[in-house]
């Protein structure tokens, strides 16, 4: 038997080692955030948000069309992805205990790990090939397909959190089961579902790979769904891999805009969850 002192020392050493691992993980995060903010802030001004990209060497220019493009792509994705994802989630929570439900749950779980670039090819085959051109529609479809599985799983978890007594009370009052599901259960879970939706939107806004060959890119303002369209992420990619100092600067600034957007959505999601938790306690 080893001495107690030695065993205690090992215990302390391992504890310190685990703490060190926290540092190992947090240092890259700190470095990344610091550089995006310090490099990116220099290029931020009003016209960066509102004007079109300029060719190399021409001063000024912004990513206005890319911000609009990202918003429209995500909006399109939400039109398809939200009803499907949330609906499937409610199905899993309310009627997903049978073999069919288990199959759907497992499929959704496994599918949520499929690389996003693979989904891009599917949207390419379905929309770009059919329409003979790259388009916002194709990009939106790719993002929608990516949303569905994760949204379904998180909605399920949230709907299951609704206390059983609420359902019973509603049913005991003679409210039909479907009305109970929609008016009582889903409404109680609303704050949580809003959180899941915000997180899904944040993730979609940060996607690049499936957009590279669906919505492609566009140097001009575009609101037409059948045309190629710019997005913040693809713009960052193009600027970053270019050989021009001037464009690298714009990549950092665009990355800062993207991080503010994604971070803002995440904060909003936290806020929504906290509010719903408070509401739940009240009920």
């Amino acid at each position: 038997m080893r001495s107690l002192a030695l065993r205690r020392t090992v215990n302390v050493a391992v504890t310190i080692l685990c703490g060190a691992m926290v540092l190992v993980a947090v240092i890259p995060l700190g470095s990344l955030l610091w550089l995006v903010v310090s490099h990116g802030a220099a290029g931020l001004n009003l016209s960066f948000f509102t004007s079109l990209p300029t060719p190399v060497g021409e001063p000024g220019g912004g990513v206005g069309n890319a911000i609009l493009g990202t918003a429209m792509l995500v909006g399109l994705a939400c039109l398809v992805g939200l009803p499907l994802g949330i609906g499937a989630g409610v199905f899993l929570a309310e009627r997903g205990d049978g073999p069919f439900g288990r199959a759907v749950r497992f499929t959704a779980e496994v599918f949520s790990g499929v690389p996003s670039i693979v989904i891009g090819i599917v949207a390419y085959g379905l929309v770009v090939v059919t329409m003979h051109r790259f388009s916002m529609l194709a990009g939106g479809l790719a993002l929608a397909l990516l949303m569905v599985p994760t949204l379904a799983r998180s909605t399920e978890e949230l709907v299951r959190l609704v206390p059983q007594s609420l359902r019973e009370a509603s049913l005991a009052l003679g409210v039909p089961a479907w009305k109970t599901s929609l008016r009582v259960v889903l409404r109680t879970a609303l704050g949580g579902v809003v959180t899941a939706v915000l997180l899904a939107i944040a993730r979609a806004a940060g996607e690049t790979a499936p957009l590279l060959f669906t919505s492609l890119n566009n140097q001009y303002w575009n609101v037409r769904p059948d045309q190629p369209t710019a997005s913040l992420t693809v713009q960052i990619f193009n600027y970053a891999i270019s050989p021009y100092e001037d464009w690298h600067q714009k990549a950092w600034s665009a990355a800062l805009v993207l991080l503010l957007l994604v971070g803002g959505l995440n904060l909003l999601a936290r806020f929504a969850l906290r509010r719903s938790a408070a509401g739940g306690g009240h009920a």
Binding site: R7, V10, T15, C18, G19, M21, V22, V24, A25, V26, P28, L29, L32, L35, L84, G87, V90, F91, A93, R95, D97, F100, A103, V104, T107, E109, V110, F111, G113, V114, P115, S116, I117, V118, I121, V122, Y124, G125, L126, V129, F134, L145, V148, R167, E168, L171, P176, A177, W178, G206, T208, A209, L216, T233, I236, F237, H248, A251, L258, N266
Partner: protein, 316 residues
């Protein structure tokens, strides 16, 4: 763990209930449909290439779209090497993180650390790529790679000119990106370990680390393996960050310093400009391989994690 199933008593009787049930079931079925469409569509786009060479093209090492030769081996190799490096770095760090989050860390620090790890997970891949390109690559080129070459240059792994762009840069970036996945799943798994095990070990006089090593870790092992597989699945399919730092050279090099290429990266770079159905088909064929790998990793991972959670319920 799962809450009791919702009451079914009213289902089936009311017309509205039947309609509602039908709509819900249709929405659930839509998930299966979506996955079916994905598989069929991938297969359809890949068809020209599959018809020509079958899956044999996986073992060919020449990739020259101009000459019409499509061998995927350099990409398969690059994907495996970068994912391997990523796991080597990420697994010890994430298990340490998970232990900190669920067993060892001061309770007041835990929520802060878990918030930081969530932040790490929320950063878009292209931003990691940007940071990798302008921070990690120069760091590797000017400092890390020359030092590694001096110290371990007798191994073929660490030979060659320090370029910065290459397998090592991609692997390190992947490691950071899969950290949150592995550590959060691992700490979930650790939480499902019955506390009676821990308490038993502590009551027998074990230190906290001994309780973890002798009671907690052996119990949680399948779930931790599941978490690692989940991280591996992420690493295999990660596209943007790798594309930006791996160097994009369709070659197979023994050295980690050399530029390489990965499956998702070549799809990202060539798909939009692919000439002809054969080139597109070959790229979609690579995507099919990636899809298959991701499905296998994820299913195995979920089953392993579930195994631990179920055992926890039974023992509790």
């Amino acid at each position: 763990m799962a809450p009791p199933r919702p009451p079914r008593a009213a289902a089936g009787g009311h017309a509205g209930d039947r309609l509602f049930a039908a709509v819900l079931t249709a929405l659930g079925g839509a998930v299966l449909l979506v996955v079916g469409v994905v598989v069929l569509e991938l297969y359809r786009v890949a068809q020209p290439a599959l018809a020509k060479g079958g899956l044999r093209f996986l073992l060919d090492r020449d990739w020259d779209p101009v000459l019409g030769s499509f061998g995927a081996l350099p990409f398969v190799y690059g994907t495996l090497v970068t994912s391997g490096v990523a796991l080597l770095v990420a697994v010890p760090v994430s298990v340490g993180l998970a232990l900190f989050l669920s067993e060892m860390g001061p309770p007041r620090l835990r929520p802060i650390v878990s918030f930081l790890i969530e932040t790490l997970a929320a950063i878009p891949s292209v931003v990691y790529g940007l940071w990798g390109l302008f921070v990690v690559v120069p760091l590797l080129r000017d400092h890390v790679e020359p030092a590694l070459g001096r110290a371990l240059g007798f191994l073929p792994l660490f030979r060659g000119a320090p370029i910065g762009l290459g397998y090592l840069a991609a692997g390190l970036l992947l490691a950071i990106m899969i950290l949150p996945t592995i550590s959060s799943v691992t700490s979930e798994v650790l939480k499902t370990v019955p506390s009676s095990l821990r308490e038993g070990a502590l009551a027998l006089g074990a230190t906290r680390w001994e309780a973890i090593r002798l009671a907690v870790l052996p119990y949680a092992r399948p779930g931790i393996l599941g978490a690692v597989l989940l991280g591996l699945g992420r690493a295999l399919g990660e596209t943007m960050a790798v594309t930006m730092v791996i160097g994009n050279a369709p070659e197979i090099s023994a050295s980690l310093f050399a530029p390489g290429y990965s499956l998702p990266a070549v799809i990202a770079n060539e798909f939009a400009e692919a000439s002809g159905a054969l080139h597109l088909g070959a790229l979609a064929g690579l995507a099919l391989v990636l899809f298959g790998l991701a499905l296998v990793m994820n299913s195995a991972a979920r089953l392993l994690v579930r195994l631990v959670a179920r055992g926890g319920r039974a023992a509790a």
